[in-house]
């Protein structure tokens, strides 16, 4: 197993470094602990706009010059804005590691937020909101989030048209000044680089960047609404999403929830694929997934089908929600657990995946979690654990969203048509 170092730099950055000597690339992620949930209510869309504009100019270079500098070392980079954090990830050949970090430091420490770039990115964000209307599943997610998470954690990173139009360069600069400092940064590095060197590189280029106080690690309240909502849209298919509260990533029952999810949708032998698609031919796409903001967990089922079959599909989905604790057999649980464990090993052969896993461990657990520990917890899950988990996390308060040409008309009576659950 690789040696994983974890700690805090004097400047306040939390770091984790996994040294994998035989890899051919280095991946690193810089996570800033602020996201859409950190935005002022009248400035929705601000965090993503900051992320989009950070690389459009620094005190030393124009946006294009900065991009050219990254490309000169062939750095593959992405950035993203979520509910609670913003991430900047990069994969590069080992010999360019320090320069890649240095360029990130320049981008995050000395952005100029040029006026024209701000104006254009505000306009582009508005156009992206329009484009979202042509992506049914992404639109369904956007509509579902405020229902299951409430008004703060349920925000969409793109914001709203009205709030986007208010945003100015001063807003971006203010957000950056408030949230971009070492005390809010968590760094993960994976690849053929010694921990001491990796830590030294970050210390050299980020040392002295803002306050050292550790911030941004608080949890935010979730406000779940049990409801059934239809959003009319002229589509070929009806999109159905069902959500209910689960457990957070650090909860002792999280491995049990992972196994439950695997039973529902871990592979093609999972219950949803088998019952809704393979036996009945009702859908092409059906899935179950979880989301775990810090301090909360949410389970989802989703499917899309032609309107005339949506009631039947909805009933079939509900049946799977209801019968989760029935008929469970050991082989089904074993398959679910094996699927998760094997996937960690196969995907773990890529440096980028290992980096994403380490970053996730640091965010949720505040420490690297050895693979053996995760595997042992998963392999210890029993059928009784799943039954207990399902009893303690009942599916009697569902949030149901349909997006498409018509609402559900004869859906299972156990789901209330407004607000009350079943």
């Amino acid at each position: 197993m690789p040696e994983i170092s974890h700690g805090f730099l004097p400047c306040g950055i939390e770091y984790g470094v996994a040294t994998l000597p035989r890899r051919h690339v280095v991946s690193f992620q810089i996570r800033v602990l602020a996201g859409a949930a950190s935005e002022p209510i009248e400035r929705l869309g601000l965090a993503r706009l900051v992320e989009e504009t950070l690389d459009k100019g620094t005190q030393r270079r124009s946006g294009q010059e900065l991009s050219d500098a990254f490309d000169a070392i062939g750095a593959g980079r992405q950035s993203g804005t979520g509910r609670e954090t913003m991430t900047f990830t990069c994969t590069t050949l080992p010999e360019h590691f320090e320069l890649a970090v240095q360029l990130h430091a320049e981008m995050l420490r000395t952005p100029t937020f040029p006026d024209d770039a701000v104006r254009i990115n505000v306009d582009l964000a508005g156009q992206e909101l329009s484009a979202l209307e042509d992506e049914p599943q992404a639109l369904a997610d956007k509509l579902m989030s405020p229902l299951v998470y409430g008004p703060v954690l349920g925000r969409h990173p793109l914001g709203e048209r009205e709030t986007l139009e208010r945003l100015t360069r001063a807003d971006l600069e203010s957000f950056w000044r408030t949230y971009f400092h070492c005390g809010r940064m968590v760094v993960s590095v994976v690849g053929p680089v010694e921990a001491e060197r990796a830590v030294g590189v970050f210390a050299r280029h980020f040392g002295g960047f803002g306050g050292t106080t550790r911030n941004g690690r608080e949890t935010r309240a979730v406000k779940f609404t049990s409801t059934r909502t239809h959003h009319h849209k002229d589509l070929e298919q009806e999109h159905i999403t069902i959500g209910w509260p689960g457990v957070e990533a650090t909860h002792k029952d999280f491995p049990v929830q992972q196994a439950t999810l695997g039973i529902l949708s871990g592979g093609m032998s999972g219950r949803l694929f088998t019952e809704v698609r393979e036996k009945r031919g009702l859908v092409y796409w059906v899935s179950a997934w979880q989301e775990t903001p810090r301090g909360a967990g949410m389970m989802f089922l989703g499917a899309s089908t032609t309107p005339e079959r949506c009631d039947q599909t909805f009933t079939a989905l509900l049946r799977e929600v209801d019968r989760l604790s029935e008929d469970l057999v050991q082989d089904e649980l074993d398959r679910a657990v094996t699927g998760i464990v094997a996937s960690q090993e196969t995907r773990g052969d890529t440096t980028r995946s290992r980096c994403a896993e380490l970053a996730s461990d640091l965010f949720f657990f505040g420490r690297p979690v050895p693979s053996e520990e995760k595997v042992a917890k998963l392999q210890a899950v029993t059928i009784d654990d799943i039954r207990r988990y399902l009893a303690e996390n009942p599916r009697d308060r569902l949030c149901v969203l349909t997006l498409g040409p018509r609402p559900l008309v004869d859906a299972d009576a156990k789901v209330g048509s407004s607000g009350g659950g079943r």
Binding site: A72, G76, L124, E128, D234, T338, G339, V341, T346, G348
Partner: protein, 415 residues
């Protein structure tokens, strides 16, 4: 330095099944996959969609396993598995822990000998009709299918991979079976295995599993299409965006200029490209890009963008301006170097994982007839220069009319 080159082994069974193995001693996993040389371009118009339908049917039962047993056996290994169909191939793969590679090969070899069970055929038809319905809600999918239909009109590359409701709806099991028996034969297939494996053992297992398969003999010869120009518009009110695409005849994947064409597309419309800075960052459209779309024997340079409908004219004007500029002015050395540097990193990333090597080896065998090491691929990247790009555009110009596809609420430019 990239040091990901791994030795590969080539072997052909007596029945014609080609086998390619790449040993990757530094990984903990292995991937196996069958490539069947059949896809949408091998179909007749009335059979449009049969290759893709067959891909679904391979999961539905064999002489040894029911559909349920096939999926259970994949999941018992914790395999990351799937299948997909393109215009010219159908691929089945599984990526597993290295200890499971023989089991994975056995399961894949069994599933491609499907019995095409009658009951499952009926149920799966509904699943595919749902897949077609889903694709119609995706404007990019709609645009791409429409573009292929018009640019390759009169040629099988014009059929959508999923087929049409009518052809899928009326397809009989007997007609599917005849197509299946002709195409799913060892002399029309390729087995690729990559990962921490022992080549001699892989060949031994493959011989045992596939050695008795009967060859089908020569397949109908594929003919390259004539690529059409013109303007085609598909007005659809319910979409919010207008998607436009300009296409120009280019070279196929087997052509030595293919790497240059891809690099040119990246300079025009990749990350940190001319389109990004001169179109997206000028606020004309949130999306604009270029892609070199290539098949073995033909290709097109595809320039595209999506925007709010009222902004489509300046978007297309800007795309055409960049197309003219890259044809008439030599690209800068820094632009070429930028693309090459990024390609080096992406090759190093792809060289890490058995599944990615598996797909690269399949491409190599189809396009070049032999596997390429990462070093060979890097050498081809290194050979790209401002001169080779200029020569490419002299032979395959994009400062001409080409073909314009427009899909969205406006009937532009025919309105």
């Amino acid at each position: 330095m990239i040091q990901t080159a791994s030795p590969y082994t080539l072997h052909t069974l007596a029945n014609g099944l080609q086998i390619v193995i790449e040993r990757m001693p530094d990984v903990r996993s292995a991937a196996a996959g069958f490539l069947v040389r059949t896809g949408a371009r091998d179909e007749t118009p009335e059979l449009a969609g049969v290759s893709h339908f067959l891909e679904h049917m391979m999961f539905k039962g064999t002489g040894k396993r029911t559909w349920r047993e096939i999926t259970i056996d994949f999941d018992r290994m914790g395999s990351s598995y799937n299948a997909y169909t393109s215009e010219d191939r159908t691929i089945y793969y599984g990526w597993v822990r290295k200890a499971d590679i023989a089991r994975q090969m056995e399961l894949l070899a069994d599933m491609v000998c499907s019995t095409l069970p009658e009951e499952e055929f009926k149920t799966e038809k509904n699943v595919i009709l749902e897949e077609i319905a889903m694709s119609k809600d995706n404007i990019e999918h709609v645009t791409f299918d429409f573009l292929q239909e018009k640019v390759f009109a009169g040629h099988p590359l014009a059929w959508p991979i999923l087929g049409y409701e009518k052809t899928v709806g009326s397809l009989t099991r007997d007609r599917m079976r005849a197509y299946f028996q002709r195409c799913y034969a060892p002399d029309n297939m390729l087995l690729v295995v990559a990962g921490d494996v022992e080549p001699a053992e892989v060949i031994e297992v493959a011989e045992k599993l596939c050695g008795s398969w009967k060859p089908a003999g020569p397949q109908p010869k594929r003919v390259p299409p004539r690529i059409r120009g013109g303007v085609d518009v598909l007005p659809i009110d319910r979409f919010k965006q207008q998607v436009v695409a300009l296409t120009f005849p280019s070279v196929g994947a087997s052509d030595p200029r293919a790497e240059t064409a891809s690099a040119a597309a990246t300079i025009l419309g990749g990350e940190n490209s001319r389109f990004f800075w001169n179109i997206v960052q000028k606020g004309l459209a949130p999306r604009a890009g270029a892609h070199h779309l290539e098949y073995t024997d033909c290709g097109v340079m595809l320039l595209f963008g999506a925007c709010e409908p009222e902004r489509v004219e300046p978007l297309v004007e800007a795309i055409r301006a960049e197309a003219r500029r890259i044809c008439r002015e030599r690209v800068g050395q820094h632009e070429v170097d930028r693309v090459k540097n990024k390609r080096r990193t992406s090759l190093a990333i792809e060289g890490e994982a058995p599944y990615y090597r598996l797909t690269q080896l399949m491409d190599d065998m189809e396009y070049y007839g032999e596997p390429r090491t990462v070093e060979q691929m890097l050498a081809e990247v290194d050979a790209v220069s401002a001169e080779t790009i200029a020569e490419y555009f002299a032979a395959c110009p994009i400062d001409v009319e080409g073909h314009l596809t427009s899909v969205g609420p406006r009937g532009w430019p025919k309105e």
